[in-house]
Each structure stands twice: as C-alpha cells, then as structure tokens.
C-alpha cells in the first residue's frame, strides 16, 4: 500500500511541476506535428500513399517524442540535484521509479492525444478507440523501459546519445506488435486481437522486469 502511495505522490509531483511550468507537453505536441510536416516532405505524401505510410510515421513520431519525454523526466531531476534527495528517503526505489514512469507515460498520452487527431487530419487515416487502445498499450511498456534507461543515462556522460542507443532496441517488440495493430486498423487484415494480446504480454514482462531492476538503477 505504501509503495502505491509513494508512486502516486511522485507521479503527482511530476505532473504538478509540469502543469506549473507547462514546458514539456506544448513542446512535445509541437514536435509531433512538426514530425508529420517533415514526413510529408520526406515521403511525398498524397491521398494514395498516405494510408501505407501513416502507421510508420505514427510510430516514428511517437518513439522520438517518447525519447524526449523520458529523457526529460530524469534529466530535470538530475539538473536540480533532487534525484539524490528523493533516493535518500526511505521510499522503495521501485515505487519512485513507478511514479516517474506513470507521470512520463501520462505526458506521452497527452502528446498522443495531439498526434492521433493530427494524423487523422493530415493523412486522412481513420481514428478509432481500437487504434488508441493499441497505441496506449504500447505506451505502458515503452514508458517502463524508457524510464528505466532514462534513470540510468541521467547518471552517465553523453546521456542524450545513450538514451536512444539503449532504449530503441528494446522498444522494438512494442513497435512490431503495435505497428501490426495500427496497420490492421488503417489498412485491413484480421490479426488485431493477436497483436493486442502480444502488447499486453510485453507490457507485463517489461513492467515486472523494470520494477525488479529499479533498485539497481536508482541507488547511489
């Protein structure tokens, strides 16, 4: 029970601090829209090619927005030297970590709330609950992994370079399964349910693994 309270308190602290400064979410929202604009020039998008390219653009924009969001989650703590103080309290590291991951995932969901409608608007793709569900399920696992590596690289040199290097390879399962689900929603096919279950499996696996590892990453 105490762990849950700690996690919620940490998440609340991060969200309140974001609400007061309003730094990250507007920047992320602008970033994903910009990513769509760049994709337009990179792929020469027209109404025929849009449905085939849209899923790829969605995941690329989401992955890089995620790297920014998770990187900030711990970099800000490191700059203010507040991470040490949070760790010095008697709160269990796994709970602190879960709170940070929860807050970062919430920010990324906000950013998806801009990305998905923007994609529907600019690329003419269908917008549905099922699509949002697949993206949301992928976000959970990506947040767990992203936050763990962000906590790690915040303490390394060259953190901006190392975060994508460590995180992207392990995000691939979510992009494979999520990409499959999104392609089904946007193009057709019938393996949506299977992809969704795969996403849930990966979520459980990586949430458990990262909470076990939190102790070793958040321990100075």
């Amino acid at each position: 029970m105490r762990s849950i309270a700690v996690a919620l308190a940490v998440a609340r602290k991060d969200l309140v601090s974001e609400w007061r400064s309003r730094e990250l979410v507007p920047a992320l929202a602008q970033f994903v829209v910009l990513a769509l604009v760049i994709a337009n020039f990179g792929f020469q998008i027209d109404s025929r090619s849009a449905p085939a390219i849209a899923p790829g653009v969605l995941w690329l924009a989401l992955v890089f927005a995620g790297l920014l969001a998770f990187g900030r989650a711990f970099a800000a703590e490191k700059e203010q030297a507040s991470l040490e103080q949070v760790i010095l309290t008697s709160a269990p590291p796994a709970a602190i970590f879960a709170g940070k991951a929860l807050a970062a995932a919430a920010l990324l969901v906000l950013c998806e709330a801009v990305l998905l409608p923007a994609l529907a608007l600019f690329f003419g793709t269908p917008l549905s609950i099922a699509l949002a569900a697949a993206v949301f399920l992928a976000t959970i696992g990506m947040a767990a992994l992203g936050c763990m590596f962000a906590a790690m690289v915040a303490q390394l040199r060259a953190r901006e370079v190392m975060l994508p290097l460590l995180t992207l390879p392990l995000w691939i399962p979510f992009i494979v399964a999520g990409g499959q689900a999104v392609q089904v929603m946007m193009g057709g096919g019938n393996s949506y349910g299977q992809a969704l279950w795969l996403l849930i499996d990966f979520d459980i696996l990586f949430v458990v693994l990262t909470s076990l590892a939190a102790r070793f990453v958040l321990d100075e």
Binding site: L166, A213, D219
Partner: protein, 227 residues
C-alpha cells in the same frame, strides 16, 4: 610459454582442424554448391554468441546479487566475445545470402533480430565506457546485459514465430547427412572452445587492468560501501 599461450594455440589448432573437416570431409551441397560450407562456421558462431551472452547474464546476476567482482569481470569479457561472434555470424550470413538470396540483406525476422542483438550488446560495451568506472558501470552494465538477453530467444525462435526466408533448425529436424552433421558438431565444439579461450584471456586482461594502482581505488568503490 604460459597457459594462456598454450590455450590460444590449442584453440587455433582446433579451428584449423575444423576448417580441414569443412573443406575436405564434408560433402558439397547438391543445390548450393561450395558456398553452403559457410553454414558450419555461421551457425557455430551464432551458438557461441548465444552462449557468451548467457555467460553475461550469469555474471551480471552474480554481480547484482552478491556484488561479485569476478562475476562482473566474467560478464565484461563475455560481452565483448559475444559481440565479436555476433559480428562473425552477421558477416558470414551476408556472404552466404548474396549468392543464394541475391542480396546481402533482407529485413527478415531472424536477420533483424540478430542485428538488434548486436546493437544491444554494443550498447552494453558503451555503457561500460561511459558510466563512472566501478560500481556504477558494473551495475548499469549488468542491468543492460540482463535485459538484452530477452532478444536471444527471439532470435532463436524467430524462424518458427514468423514466416522467414532464413532456414529453420536443421539438427533437431534430422535434415543433415551424417558427414555434414559430424562436421557441424565438430566445428561447433571447436568454436565453443575458441570462445571459452577468448573469454578466459579477456578475463585475464580485465583482472590485470583492475590490478593497476589507479584501478584499485575504483575497485574498492565497486564493493558495497561499509555502512
């Protein structure tokens, strides 16, 4: 001659013997011709890479559990050797793919997952270099080493989970004639010996560099602080 030189010479001799079997004993493949002989070293080095990464996991768990410096050194050594063998697997696979598939690379599940494996453990080596030496480097690398191993079963089962152009298992399905099977098993055994010798020599290098006066301070920091 010290025992490391003897072991290295023995490993080289074994690999030469394996080469002799590959080129003079194993029959030429009826469909693919001589290029199929890549198979023996290609698959053997993939297995050696998997075993090396399994050693990384064992060493990493030993470090996280008991703060065992030995475990950390074993993981460090095995990660490097694993990356080397993954490189060999990828390069030989590409050389084989060009004449048979007509292209060096295709985004096949097994090829892709093997490339990801290479990237993950190359990242492991980078973490070692970029983290503060000692306790932090050891702990972070151990976490990366354990998480990265998730990809090994993906590589192994990729040919059964997805439809791929890469051939599936040939040993368990009894697809090889006895001469080819013997050559393969012999090459695999030799490659595993080579990997073990490489890990042992690398371990010695790591131990010696840990014994440098400036490393002593870092090593003490790697142990759990007395509190």
């Amino acid at each position: 001659m010290n025992r490391y030189l003897v072991a290295a010479a023995a490993a080289v001799a074994l690999m030469l013997a394996a080469a002799a079997f590959i080129f003079f004993f194993a029959p030429t493949d009826a469909l693919q011709g001589p290029v199929q002989r890549i198979f023996y070293l290609h698959v053997s080095s993939a297995i050696a890479a998997f075993v090396s990464f399994a050693v990384v996991v064992v060493g990493s768990v030993a470090y996280l559990w008991r703060e065992s410096i030995v475990g950390d050194r074993v993981a460090r050594s095995a990660a490097l050797v694993g990356v080397v063998f993954t490189t060999v697997t990828l390069v030989m696979g590409m050389m084989w793919a060009k004449p048979i598939w007509g292209t060096f690379w295709t985004w096949d599940a097994r090829l892709t997952s093997t490339l990801v494996l290479w990237i993950i453990y190359a990242g492991y080596l980078l973490v070692r270099r970029l983290a503060a030496p000692g306790r932090q480097a050891a702990r972070f690398a151990a976490v990366v080493g354990i998480f990265g191993f998730v990809d090994v079963p993906v590589v192994y089962f990729s040919v059964t989970w997805w439809r791929t152009v890469h051939p599936g298992p040939v040993i368990s399905t009894d697809a090889l004639p006895p001469e080819m099977l013997f050559t393969f098993l012999f090459t695999m055994a030799c490659t595993l010996v080579l990997a073990a010798v490489m890990i042992a020599i690398r371990y010695r290098i790591e131990a010696l560099s840990d014994a440098q006066p400036q490393s002593q301070f870092v090593l003490q920091a790697a142990q759990r602080p007395t509190s």
